[in-house]
Symmetry: C2
Subunit: 107 residues, 2 copies
């Protein structure tokens, strides 16, 4: 089972960052945003491909159901930059935690 | 001098997160976004108050100079959620670093 998980478990000491990680994921595919698009009328965000596929089937936001068409989608580039920086920081911090001696009591 | 700094120095072990921290700050006031607004035509973001003040003086994006008027600004609520979660995580991690023994060689 553990081997099937796409992401490593979060070390307890880094768990405060889990909330940030969750926010940087698309509500359709649950991966980090890949070319994040914002729906300006409701402020929800999805990967470009995920939301375009969804809108070809139903012209509404999958989360709040506000009416939306493809030309209304706008790039939310800061989210792409945040994904890149956060993912890199996460990997470096995971490595540091693995390399550092456990604190007692273990956390 | 040190006392005048509004933010504590980043512990070396947490420095990978500094890049994320920088991305969550407004380019006008350099504080974390406070009610983040996106300019849909260029994807730049600012605090609501900062960009409204700026636009009352000059109707363009302060970063890329694209023409923009106040009604075109849209909320970028995910940035507000990210600021809240990241700031809280940062404080918890700073505390953990202060509480944990230094790694040798010191990092
Ligand atoms: Zn997606
Ligand atoms: Zn929505
Ligand atoms: Zn500002
Ligand atoms: Zn701009």
């Amino acid at each position: 089972m553990a081997l099937a998980l796409p992401e490593p478990r979060w070390p307890e000491r880094l768990s405060p960052l889990k909330v940030v990680d969750d926010l940087l994921r698309c509500g359709i595919c649950f991966e980090y945003f890949n070319i994040a698009m914002i729906i300006p009328q409701c402020s929800h965000n999805y990967c470009s491909l995920c939301i375009r596929k969804f809108l070809s089937y139903k012209t509404q936001c999958p989360t709040c159901r506000v009416a939306v068409t493809e030309p209304e989608l706008k790039n939310n580039r800061l989210l792409d930059d945040l994904v890149k920086s956060f993912n890199s920081a996460r990997q470096q911090l995971f490595q540091l935690v693995l390399d550092s001696p456990p604190v007692s009591p273990p956390m």
